[in-house]
């Protein structure tokens, strides 16, 4: 499918629906339950869209999938987008899925880590060196002028709370849902430092290639409309959506958990303006921080890649 | 088919040749025996004629064809019976035919007939590891006879057989020799056998081995085991024995 140019897939198929393939950073998990509701209720068809889910392993893969033409729109973290732009990809960020930074740093109460400085020389766990936990940990360290070398960063895998519990690491970088799950599994009393207090990076955004942005704008608007509506619906009917997730989400067998996760994500999706609205100032601040951190070599002119045009067209 | 060996020289390692200056002409339908001490080079010579050894000097012709690889109409009986352990005796005997064509009913019958010839009629469905030493040797013999070759190269065919069975098979070979008239080179260490079966006995000896003596035997055309007891026979055997001893 690599040879398939993004534009070429824009023709409508037989039933008049336009194909939109959404590359996700994950497979079909509870967090994205609004999409399952939209599918179930036929909202995509109603909006003239033939929707397809493309699973992935990380935001980087999602972005690569749209660059390669395997998908039209990517559900990815903003760091991946910044890095891809730096590597020459021509991308447009069109929708702010989670304006809130969901990353945090968790330590056990008994180890008395209350400030970032307390971490000096200690082991800190991250999911992996390619995950947002790593980058957001760097942001935290940077905020107090510390460097990566001042602590001992260890990729511990996604089960990163386990080493925290058995004392192999002093603190672990995680996400809000991860923290929730760990608490359910008996994590006990913990101190949490939330990264959003330092830098409120939008956690996930919808991003497309400029080519798709030009050629498929109507379909994209329709897609975003459905997404926005379903998000709204999930905020209003979390219980119903949690039920839908049991069937559709691969990790959705526990309805009570589904509900909690949905509630957490509903909160992350809240926008001080309108659902999906991108705050350019925040994005620029993120870019600046990443340049300072050395994650980006220089500014990538992010403002030219961010647009609220489509969001403004939404009802 | 006639066989001509022209100035053959064979050395496994460059310095020490095993065979040197071998010249031999064998008429169509002739049967010659090669005798010589253990390790003198009899099997090596046979392998050259069989086209299985490439790096000898000199030339070997069969039916005027220069031998560089095995010849279609030549059958070679190895000194050890090389059987395929995963095939029954019958399937081992059928192998040469199987390599030539699809095996038919009549081929199987022929194989059974060959096995009867060598006294293995009851062993068709045994596997090699269930056969005695002599039985294996006879399977190999049946396998070589099944293609009705024009040239037989036999490397000690009967050495692992008891006197009676050996006598029977010698008779069969004489019979084949007289009826089908193949050209035969027989390597044997049994002088009586050599004299009984062949028209000429070639004595290989020396280091490197060459043909140190040839004995033309003008015994009865219609030979059978009974000539063993003729005076002429006993004398020839004694003469050859002596030559071998004084090699």
């Amino acid at each position: 499918t690599m040879n398939q140019q993004p534009g070429s897939s824009s023709q409508k198929n037989t039933d008049g629906l336009e194909k939109i393939r959404m590359a996700s950073w994950s497979n079909e998990i509870v967090e994205q339950s609004n999409l399952y509701v939209a599918e179930e209720k036929g909202w995509f068809e109603n909006a003239g869209i033939d929707y397809e889910f493309v699973p992935g392993a990380g935001g980087g893969e999602a972005v690569k999938n749209i660059v390669a033409g395997n998908a039209d729109i990517a559900f990815a973290n903003i760091e991946a987008v910044l890095l891809a732009i730096e590597k020459g990809a021509d991308l447009k960020i069109i929708y702010n899925i989670y304006p809130e930074n969901v990353f945090n740093l968790v330590s056990l109460k008994k180890s008395h880590i209350t400030s970032i400085e307390d971490l000096k020389g200690k082991n800190i766990g991250v999911y992996s060196l390619s995950s947002g936990t790593y980058q957001n940990l760097q942001v935290l360290l940077h905020s107090v002028g510390m460097k990566e070398e001042d602590v001992n960063i260890i990729p511990t895998g996604v089960l990163n709370f386990a080493p925290l519990m058995n004392g192999k690491v002093a603190a672990t970088a995680a996400t809000d849902t991860g923290l929730y799950d760990a608490k359910q599994k008996g994590l006990g009393d913990v101190d949490v430092m939330e990264v959003k207090n330092v830098l409120n990076t939008p956690s996930d955004v919808f991003v497309v290639t400029s080519d798709v942005y030009e050629k498929k704008q109507d379909a994209l608007v329709n897609f975003l409309q459905v997404y926005k509506d379903s998000t709204q619906y999930m905020m209003e009917h979390p219980k119903e959506v949690a039920k839908v997730a049991i069937e559709k989400a691969i990790d959705g067998k526990d309805e009570a958990r589904n509900l909690e996760i949905i509630k957490i994500r509903n909160k992350s999706a809240e926008n001080k303006k309108e659902l999906g609205w991108l705050d350019l100032d925040v994005v620029k601040k993120v870019e600046k921080t990443y340049v300072e951190l050395g994650l980006l070599k220089k500014s990538v002119q992010i403002e030219s890649a961010v647009t609220n045009d489509l969001v403004e067209k939404l009802k | 088919m006639s066989i001509v060996i022209d100035d053959l020289r064979l050395a496994y390692d460059k310095k020490v040749p095993i065979l040197d200056n071998i010249n031999l002409e064998i008429q169509k339908g002739e049967c010659i025996s090669i005798i010589g001490k253990s390790g003198c080079g009899k099997s090596s010579l046979l392998k050259c004629v069989a086209g299985l050894t490439a790096n000898y000097e000199g030339r070997v012709f069969i039916h005027d064809e220069l031998i560089q690889e095995p010849h279609e109409h030549v059958s070679y009986l190895f000194q050890t019976p090389i059987l395929l352990e995963w095939r029954s005796v019958l399937d081992n005997v059928l192998l040469p035919l199987e390599l030539k064509r699809k095996v038919m009913k009549e081929d199987r019958n022929k194989a059974k007939q060959m096995m009867k010839l060598v006294g293995l009629q009851d062993a068709a469905y045994k596997y090699p590891h269930e056969c005695s030493g002599g039985m294996k040797a006879r399977v190999a013999l049946a396998r070589m006879l099944i293609t009705e070759p024009d040239v037989l190269l036999l490397d000690e065919p009967f050495s692992s057989l008891d006197a009676i069975t050996k006598g029977q098979l010698q008779k069969e070979l004489l019979n084949i020799s007289q009826v089908m008239k193949p050209t035969i080179i027989l390597v044997t260490h049994d002088i009586e056998e050599a004299v009984l079966l062949s028209d000429r006995v070639v004595l290989l000896g020396g280091k490197p081995a060459c043909i140190s003596k040839e004995f033309w035997l003008d015994l009865d055309e219609k030979r059978d085991a009974s000539i063993r007891f003729s005076e002429r026979f006993v004398n020839v055997v004694a003469e050859i024995y002596e030559s071998v001893e004084h090699l």
């Binding site: 497979n27 998990i29 392993a57 709370f161 058995n166 599994k185 691969i250 990790d251 958990r257 | 390599l99």
Partner: protein, 253 residues
């Protein structure tokens, strides 16, 4: 019940009991290491609710299809390369290279190139499992008694006939030894391929279970995968014993 089954089972019970006891005595949290009983309950739950079946199905299909492709390729390559020493020398570095490449890092590229369907998964599995078969068939096909080759040559057998009627029968036990390694590697391959870009299968399940810190489910998937691997191996073993007995029985000592 045969003696060895009894022993094997007994060993299993001992191991599981030790596990259960250690976890309980040291009160290791479930997140770090669940007890066998918890895992068992989880598996029962997964089976009862029917949740596991589609994942199991997908993984098993991938394993079998990937193994078939991989072993066919391995065998064919082994046979081809065994026939020509030059071809062997020229191709061998590439074949090794294809092995030494870490498939897990290759998987995302495959997904990019071939989409996220079953194709890249089968490719990964085949790529992972063909090598042992290739190596062992190559070794087996080459180490044939020289006298037997001479016999076939003297019977004017073609190279193909020598291959088919001599080398392959001789190599069968080694080919099977390679197949056994291959089938087990297929299981690994299936999981690796599902780690990336899959929404179904036991590998994907492990990933989400990790994401939701559902350690018992991680272990359940593990155990099911292990059971699949062991069963596949045993099937190969029975196949070898039943179908190809005559090529090995006279040599097993």
């Amino acid at each position: 019940m045969k003696k060895h089954l009894l022993y094997s089972f007994f060993l299993l019970v001992v191991l599981l009991t030790a596990w259960e006891v250690v976890v309980r005595i040291r009160s290791i949290p479930e997140l770090i290491l669940p007890t066998p009983s918890v895992i068992l309950m989880d598996i029962i739950q997964l089976v009862k609710s029917g949740f596991i079946w589609p994942h199991l199905r997908v993984t098993v299909i991938e394993i079998i299809a990937g193994f078939l492709i991989g072993s066919l390729v391995g065998l064919l390559l082994g046979v081809t390369v065994s026939q020509s020493s030059l071809l062997n020398k020229v191709l061998h570095p590439y074949i090794i290279a294809s092995q030494a490449m870490p498939k897990l890092a290759l998987a995302p590229l495959f997904v990019l190139w071939f989409g996220y369907g079953i194709l890249p998964k089968l490719l990964i599995i085949a790529l992972i499992c063909f090598f042992p078969l290739f190596e062992s068939s190559l070794t087996g096909l080459r180490l044939v008694d020289g006298e037997k080759v001479d016999l076939f040559r003297s019977l004017k057998a073609s190279k193909l006939q020598i291959l088919w009627k001599l080398r392959i029968p001789v190599a069968i036990p080694y080919i099977f030894s390679g197949m056994k390694v291959a089938i087990v590697l297929s299981v690994v391959g299936a999981v690796v391929s599902e780690f990336i870009g899959a929404s179904e299968g036991l590998g994907a399940l492990i990933i989400v279970a990790q994401g939701s810190m559902d350690t018992p489910m991680i272990f359940s998937s593990f155990l099911l995968l292990t059971a699949i691997g062991v069963s596949c191996y045993q099937i190969m073993d029975v196949l070898e014993k039943k179908l190809f007995k005559k090529y090995t029985f006279h040599r097993r000592n």
